[in-house]
């Protein structure tokens, strides 16, 4: 087990390194690095100084090492727009994005799993059929349009929920979270739901498919033959066996959600990392873009690792095979 873990961590590290090379090479291939990392509005003298300071007159491999060195020390350049460390900017905004992503995932599980369970256990029921039809619409919906419709209905016409922005926050573990306040929750509901719609449909379909696969298996019949109550059969036997593969999918989906938050954040003016990256792309604030890429890569690789680990832990067949 530890052997496997070490190998996976090494693999993950390799992917991160690979990404740094790609990003670095990409920076140089696409355009003049001078323009990318330095502002356009410096005069000749300042540019020369900046070039020397940033070591851009050095051979490429030296620059790469400098880049890595800087990255390891948490320095990925300064934002043109904000004149702050790019990485700091991103890390500041990350909690807001995480709130959205995790909120969306929680919604997806809380709504999607029970509905999927029902649809899987009673596939011929009219409600089940309606759910399946709804799920197709659910993952066909263009998220940005739904966001607008949400705002229109719930904010403009009904006036129940705020149309944009993040609410008040409260500190927990040194970070400001908005779901800890009532006002924050109100602001969180619409964007989280918007982000969750696609996922709910996905979770619903996956759960249903999983249940339909598990239900006819002999151990379910055997559990009933033992005289277990229906509730126990469903929850402990059917659901548990269905959820194990589901967990891995959901873990990977969390990564995708963090990325897709870009659109939702932009519409709801949610001050997260996604909005930052969009603004930065539009304003050509390349250091922020680079920093964001790196952060996302690290998050993704970590998530992949955690998901693999989780699967190993949850499925005893996999876990204990290795130990033999």
């Amino acid at each position: 087990m530890t052997g496997w873990l070490l190998r996976r961590i090494a693999q993950a590290a390799l992917v991160v390194v690979l990404m740094t090379v790609i990003v670095f090479v990409g920076l140089h291939a696409i355009g003049n690095p001078v323009d990318i990392l330095i502002g356009d509005d410096m005069n000749q003298q300042e540019r020369l100084e900046a070039i020397a300071r940033l070591g851009l007159d050095q051979p490429l491999w030296r620059q790469y090492l400098a880049f890595v060195d800087g990255a390891l020390h948490g320095n990925l350049g300064k934002s043109f727009v904000y004149q702050e460390d790019a990485i700091r900017l991103i890390l500041q905004r990350l909690p807001a994005t995480m709130e959205l992503a995790v909120g969306a995932l929680v919604l997806a599980i809380v709504i999607g799993v029970p509905l999927g369970l029902f649809a899987g256990m009673k596939p011929e029921h009219p409600v089940s059929k309606a759910l399946m039809a709804a799920s197709i619409v659910g993952f066909s919906l263009p998220a940005f349009w739904v966001a607008l419709m949400f705002i229109m209905v719930f904010s403009v016409q009904l006036g129940w929920l705020p149309a944009s922005g993040r609410g008040e926050t409260r500190a927990l573990l040194g970070v400001q979270w908005s779901w800890l306040t009532w006002d924050g929750l109100q602001h969180l509901i619409l964007p989280a739901f918007n982000l969750a719609l696609f996922k709910i449909s996905l979770v619903l379909r996956l759960t249903r498919a999983g249940v339909r696969e598990v239900l006819p298996q002999d151990f379910v019949k055997f559990a009933r033959a033992k005289g277990l109550s229906n509730a126990r059969v469903v929850v402990v036997h059917v659901l548990r066996n269905t959820l194990i593969p589901l967990v891995t999918v959901l873990g990977l989906e969390l990564g995708a959600t963090i990325a897709y938050a870009v659109v939702t954040e932009s519409i709801f003016a949610w001050p997260g990392a996604g909005k930052l990256i969009l603004d930065s792309i539009n304003s050509l604030d390349r250091p922020v873009v680079v920093a964001y890429l790196m952060v996302v890569v690290v998050i993704f690789v970590t998530l992949n690792l955690v998901v693999d680990l989780l699967y190993k832990l949850l499925d005893p067949r996999v876990r204990l095979e290795g130990a033999r």
Binding site: S140, M149, A163, Y260, I277, V289
Partner: protein, 298 residues
């Protein structure tokens, strides 16, 4: 002459018959057909060419659905947008762009991806491993981020959007084609063909490729839906089509600012059209997947 039994008919006929079993899928197919027809017949079924600035009347901007035009002789059944475009016409023309971009990028990506996938399966060994690592890497990152990055570097425009989509989608086809090709190479008929001395490349194109088509078809259908959504999203974010020739995404984006004054139709109707198209494609793709899957055992 005896009529053919079900099993004797060609596989495509049977696929078609099975497909038509699902009323929902047929419904999707009908909607899809309507959309395609509307897009093809755009100039003939719309009163206005929304991309021709000369035909727009700024004074007619932001009119309610059903308001008659002040200058031309027709009614704005779905209202007008901020530039005075008849929304109905804009939607039909916008569908054109969506379909063009979606199907076009999917087709190009399919060709490239299938070639790469078959190549990987054919070459095997290190080439295969390398290509599949590349595919995995590409597929493990979320599309929207990659799209934003690519567009940030290459700039806006429909052509660039297509380029981006192709770059992101080919990997799906490659993985599926390779997987299916590998399954097929284990099959007996390939051994038999080799035994007859048929050259490998011919086995690949003549035998393996046709058997890879079913899953590729399914992926293709669902990819078209994704491509259309992605193009709409990118246009919405201002990274896609130019402002003078709005696609559905841009129309929706334009309507954003008017939402708060309750002028909902500018964002609403294009969205419904987009939704209907994508739902239709997904319905068809879903049924295709259900129908084609067991057939893969043939």
């Amino acid at each position: 002459m005896k009529a053919k039994t079900f099993d004797e008919r060609s596989i495509w006929w049977r696929v078609g018959a099975d497909f038509l079993h699902s009323r929902v899928a047929v419904f999707g197919l009908v909607i899809l057909a309507l959309v395609v027809l509307a897009a093809l017949a755009a100039p003939w079924i719309t009163p206005q060419n929304p991309y021709d600035l000369m035909q727009l009347d700024v004074l007619d901007a932001r009119l309610h659905p059903g308001t008659p035009s002040s200058s031309a002789g027709y009614t704005y059944w779905l209202g007008t947008d901020g530039q005075g475009r008849d929304l109905y016409s804009a939607i039909v023309y916008g569908l054109r762009i969506s379909l063009l971009v979606g199907i076009g990028s999917a087709a190009i990506a399919a060709v490239i991806g299938t070639l790469v996938g078959l190549l990987a399966a054919y070459a095997g060994g290190k080439v295969d491993a390398l290509l599949m690592r590349l595919v995995d890497l590409l597929l493990s990152f979320p599309t929207i981020l990659m799209a934003l990055m690519i567009l940030a570097y290459v700039g806006k425009g429909v052509g660039n959007v297509v380029l981006t989509l192709v770059l992101l989608e080919w990997a799906y086809y490659a993985r599926t084609a390779r997987g299916q090709a590998l399954v097929e190479t284990q099959r007996e008929y390939v051994e038999a063909a080799r035994g007859q001395g048929i050259p490998r490349w011919r086995i690949l194109t003549g035998h393996i490729l046709p058997n890879c088509l079913p899953p590729l078809l399914v992926i293709g259908a669902l990819q078209i839906a994704r491509a259309i959504t992605l193009e709409a999203t990118l246009s919405f974010l201002g990274l896609g089509v130019p402002i003078t020739e709005p696609s559905l995404g841009l129309l929706i984006s334009n309507g954003y600012q008017y939402l708060l004054s309750n002028e909902y139709w500018i964002s609403f109707f294009p969205g419904v059209a987009l939704l209907a198209t994508i739902v239709a494609i997904n319905l068809v793709g879903d049924q295709l997947r259900d129908v084609l899957n067991p057939r893969l055992q043939k």
